[in-house]
């Protein structure tokens, strides 16, 4: 049974999962997870290893499609149209244009900085050079990377530092004008200063997109998110306003986890 505390005056809904189950073959990794994602807000997913948070995140952009034997049961509706992104007849590529992902290990393509960011647009058959240039610049500005790379857009993305590479990946995610960005432990591989820069960026990005972030770092969840969901063994245990979760959680399991009482 999930303990879900919705806000009294909820912001507009961007997406929500309804009774979502997920199977890796026979293994049921998610058990009836129902949860909102509010527009222009950051929602954090926390929980111990194996709790299903990354599995849940990867449902949103149909990452699990890439491997056979995976099965979604239930719905994830994306607003405002209410489309179920998990429906087989919905094109996964189209979903990924609207819902982007940033991964734990910065993974720029083996291309130039420019081409990394332009990739998603080229897949959409954008050809106009000036259009691409404008969009690439906007995305790099959005990722707080433009000033550092404006004079070397033709250099390899892999030449950048770890923190810069991660911002390049964020720019790549921004280029297609997504509605939701999924962050899967985006700063685990970065030093504290780069981490701080990404957290600051997330705070700015949420003005334009809605964000779902998985993190092992509880203090990060406490710092950057508006809403927090605690998961355990595939279930959503508790969901609520981040301040409430960290000051006065309703479930003992949640309190035990966030206070470090692991037993």
């Amino acid at each position: 049974m999930s303990t879900i505390t919705l806000p009294e005056n909820p912001p507009p809904l961007k997406a929500q999962s309804k009774n979502l189950d997920f199977y890796y073959g026979d293994f049921k990794a998610l058990k009836s997870v129902s949860m909102p994602v509010y527009e222009h807000k950051v929602t954090a997913l926390i929980g111990p290893s194996g709790c299903g948070k990354s599995t849940y995140l990867r449902c949103y952009n149909r990452m699990h499609d890439l491997y056979p034997g995976n099965r979604y049961v239930g719905e994830i509706s994306l607003m405002p149209d209410g489309v179920n992104v998990l429906a087989p007849q919905v094109d996964a590529i189209e979903v990924r244009m609207r819902i982007s992902m940033v991964f734990q290990k910065p993974n720029p393509f083996p291309k130039s900085i420019f081409e990394n960011v332009a990739y998603g647009l080229r897949v959409r058959n954008e050809r106009s050079r000036s259009f691409l240039e404008d969009r690439v610049e906007a995305a790099l500005r959005g990722a707080a990377l433009w000033e550092e790379v404006r004079d070397r857009l033709d250099e390899a993305g892999s030449n950048l530092s770890g923190g810069q590479q991660q911002r390049l990946c964020i720019a790549r995610a921004l280029a297609t004008d997504p509605e939701i960005i999924l962050f899967d432990e985006p700063t685990s591989a970065l030093d504290p200063i780069a981490t701080g820069a990404i957290e600051e960026l997330i705070g700015e990005l949420k003005q334009k997109v809605s964000i779902l972030i998985v993190t092992h770092n509880m203090q990060q969840a406490a710092r950057v998110s508006d809403y927090t969901a605690y998961m355990y063994l595939g279930e959503l245990i508790e969901y609520g306003d981040t301040k409430d979760i960290f000051m006065k959680p309703k479930r003992k399991e949640t309190e035990d986890y966030i206070t470090g009482r692991f037993g």
């Binding site: 509880m218 203090q219 000051m247 006065k248 470090g260 009482r261 037993g263």
Partner: protein, 233 residues
């Protein structure tokens, strides 16, 4: 899931702080008791004892505050651990003021004795009010030791009794002053003592509110008794 943190060091730090709060509470409780004894027995020696303890109490407040700040900085506590530390910060400030009230009583005793007061002064009447206040303080400290919200609620409900005792004392002293104006100066001093005792009761109340905050996460300061009962339920 156990009640202990993965970090035994963290556990030790938190219980260390709690124990020192109780130690400080015991110290100020005996200060108040000694202050009242000094008054009812006109004992300069006991009054001196009370004043000597003041430094130790003040020092404890500073030390405990320093240590709890260090825990917050290093451990980033959340939920009930965070609430405990916030409540301790408030509690030791309240306990330090209880110590101040006891010192105030002791200084008044010194003044009364040095001015050669009449033994007809109704000092013993203050004993009743004092017993109530000390009992409240002891109950609140017990409740803190056990994180017992039911006991904390009792303290909150019984605070009225001390207020009524105080008002009764006030009336008595006014009558006394009207009967013999030569007793006005000393009687006013006794009013100050009665007020100090009443404040001890208030501090016991504040402690109880802090306990409810720790356990239930609800801030019941300035709340109606109904709201407090709801929070404790």
């Amino acid at each position: 899931m156990s009640d202990k943190h993965l970090s035994t060091q963290f556990d030790a730090e938190l219980s260390g702080i709690s124990n020192r709060v109780l130690e400080m509470g015991g110290l100020v409780e005996s200060q108040v008791a000694q202050g009242i004894y000094a008054l009812t027995h006109f004992s300069l020696e006991t009054a001196e004892q009370v004043l000597k303890t003041e430094d130790r109490v003040n020092q404890m407040e500073v030390e405990i505050d320093r240590d709890l700040t260090a825990i917050i900085a290093r451990r980033q506590p959340t939920a009930r651990d965070l609430r405990l530390l916030i409540a301790v910060h408030k509690t030791i400030a309240n306990l330090e003021r209880v110590g101040d009230e006891a010192a105030r009583i002791a200084r008044i005793v010194q003044r009364l004795v040095n001015n050669g007061v009449s033994s007809r002064l109704p000092t013993f009447d203050l004993g009743v009010e004092a017993d109530l206040a000390i009992a409240q303080l002891r109950k609140a400290l017990d409740a803190f030791a056990r994180l017992d919200t039911a006991k904390a609620l009792e303290v909150l409900k019984q605070d009225d009794q001390i207020d009524r005792e105080f008002e009764g004392l006030l009336r008595k002293l006014i009558t006394y002053m009207m009967e013999d104006p030569r007793t006005i100066s000393a009687s006013i001093d006794l009013v100050f003592v009665a007020k100090a005792i009443e404040r001890v009761g208030d501090h016991a109340k504040n402690l109880s509110e802090a306990i409810i905050y720790i356990v239930k996460g609800t801030d019941v300061r300035h709340a109606s008794m109904e709201a407090v009962e709801d929070a404790v339920r």
